[in-house]
Amino acid sequence: MTTSQQTARPAVKAEIQAVPLRHPGRWVGAGVLGFVVIFLLQGWVANPRMQWEVVGEYLFSPAVLSGVGTTLLLTLLAMVVGIAGGVVLAVLRMSPNPLLSSLSGFYIWIFRGVPLLVQLLFWYFLSAVVPTIGLGVPWGPTFVQFDTNMIITQLAAAVLGLGLHEAAYMGEIVRAGIASVDPGQTEAAHALGLTRFQTLRKIVLPQAMRVIIPPTGNQVVSMLKTTSLVFAIAVPELLTSIQGIYSRNFQQVPLLTVACFWYLVATTVMNAGQHYIERRFSR
């Protein structure tokens, strides 16, 4: 230490100013893009055919608000079915029994392979081939019987279609989460005398949550938007309501703007929520 202080240092020269490299290209690019965006926005906002008064008229109309409510309800129910199904699929997939694990794989293969719109229509038209649903002994007597159309209403078809499709994706997410937990955790729990089920519930799943929660948040936001597909089976969610209105007054773009507004509001709120949850679980 002392020696370095004793060695002579070069005399300090006058400070020179450091000038960062200029990037004129970036400035030009930003200017051009900014101009294009302003031009497009101005053209959209100022377009008299946009009929902003129509947008304002319908933005908070009861039909639209009830559509928003149905969209949120559908998102919630479909995710509940999807998450519950996903946990079951993941546990089956990891079962040592080859039949159980391949059945889970088979489910995932089908429900990820067929387009969601086709699945929704499939559930909706199910009553055509399965007119009644009963409870009883297979190939034996039936105790109670229902009209399929009574059980699988439009809403139920939508929840089933969206939820069962979602379960296939959630299954993979949950499986990845469970696989991310150190096997030593399971061993330590077993060594303490916990059963397999207790170990899964108290030790493995809570730790898998860190890995499961962030992509699940993505799935919720994605589900919110995907619910718009159920307009094909006439469930009165947001897009169906909007369509109902513009099929009468032919103001398609203003009404679709209303739909965009509500979808954006909902996804923005959810993204903020997800950001918060991710921060909590990454600790």
Binding site: H190, G193, P206
Partner: protein, 254 residues
């Protein structure tokens, strides 16, 4: 003295690899036994068989005269259901090389979890015992720390307290100090030494700490290639080994 563990010709295979090729071993209540040997000798595998974390493929392994993980009927051993195996493990505590504390719980919660979940003991009583155990391993002030806030030595001491909370009749230690920085090994060995001296705990310790084994163990078992090469009290096994393989191994580690 009652026999706690009795192994008769225990075999374990992974695919075509024979990890254990007939282990015979006895452990009396109150005895402390060290398993030593080169890596791959099967000592950790044998330890894991003792609480059925590994299934044995042949032979018999008894804890308090009951087969571990199996039930013998008409000359065959049938594996026990999940719950029965879990019940057998209650009496056998295990400490792992990598601690395996539950990271989503505090030190106190780690210790309290199993007595409450498995033995259904009253929470207040368990909490009191958990605090006492933490004090015993010298971590009274760390009750509400999470594992990632503790050093390796502290985590391992919590792991020992967690196993003790179940009041086991036998403790298994799987290389408990191998993952620790050298300066933290002593604090863990101190806790283990105290268990032997104060409680007379029955223990099987897989270890490379020869000095510790010599000091606290009644018996040292040298394993190599899936068999017990020789065993005996520390003075004779470490001081005057009879087999060439034992001598070769000891010359490298002593």
């Amino acid at each position: 003295m009652t026999t706690l563990i009795r192994a008769e010709g225990v075999h374990k295979r992974y695919g075509t690899l024979d990890v254990l090729k007939g282990i015979d071993l006895e452990l009396a209540e109150g005895e402390v036994l060290a398993l030593i040997g080169p890596s791959g000798s099967g000592k950790s595998t044998f330890l894991r068989c003792v609480n059925h974390l590994e299934r044995i493929d042949a032979g018999r392994l008894y804890f308090r005269d009951r087969l571990i993980g199996y039930e013998e009927r008409d000359g065959k051993a049938y594996e026990l259901p999940d719950k029965a195996i879990a019940a057998q493990r209650v009496d056998i505590g295990m400490v792992f090389q990598r601690f395996n504390l539950f990271p989503h719980m505090t030190a106190l919660e780690n210790i309290m979890m199993a007595p409450i979940m498995v033995k259904k003991e009253p929470k207040a009583e368990v909490r009191e015992r958990a605090h006492a155990l933490l004090a015993r391993v010298g971590l009274a002030d760390k009750a509400h720390s999470r594992p990632d806030q503790l050093s390796g030595g502290q985590q391992q001491r919590v792991a020992i307290a967690r196993a003790l909370a179940m009041r086991p009749g036998l403790m298994l230690f799987d290389e408990p100090t191998s993952a620790l920085d050298p300066e933290l090994v002593g604090e863990v060995l101190d806790v283990m030494r105290d268990l032997v001296r104060a409680d007379g705990m029955t223990m099987i310790i897989v270890t490379h700490e020869m000095g510790f084994a010599r000091e606290v163990c009644d018996t040292i078992v040298f394993m190599d290639g899936g068999v017990v090469v020789e065993s005996g009290p520390p003075s004779s096994l470490l001081g005057d080994p009879r087999h060439e393989r034992t001598r070769a191994f000891l010359s490298k580690v002593l």
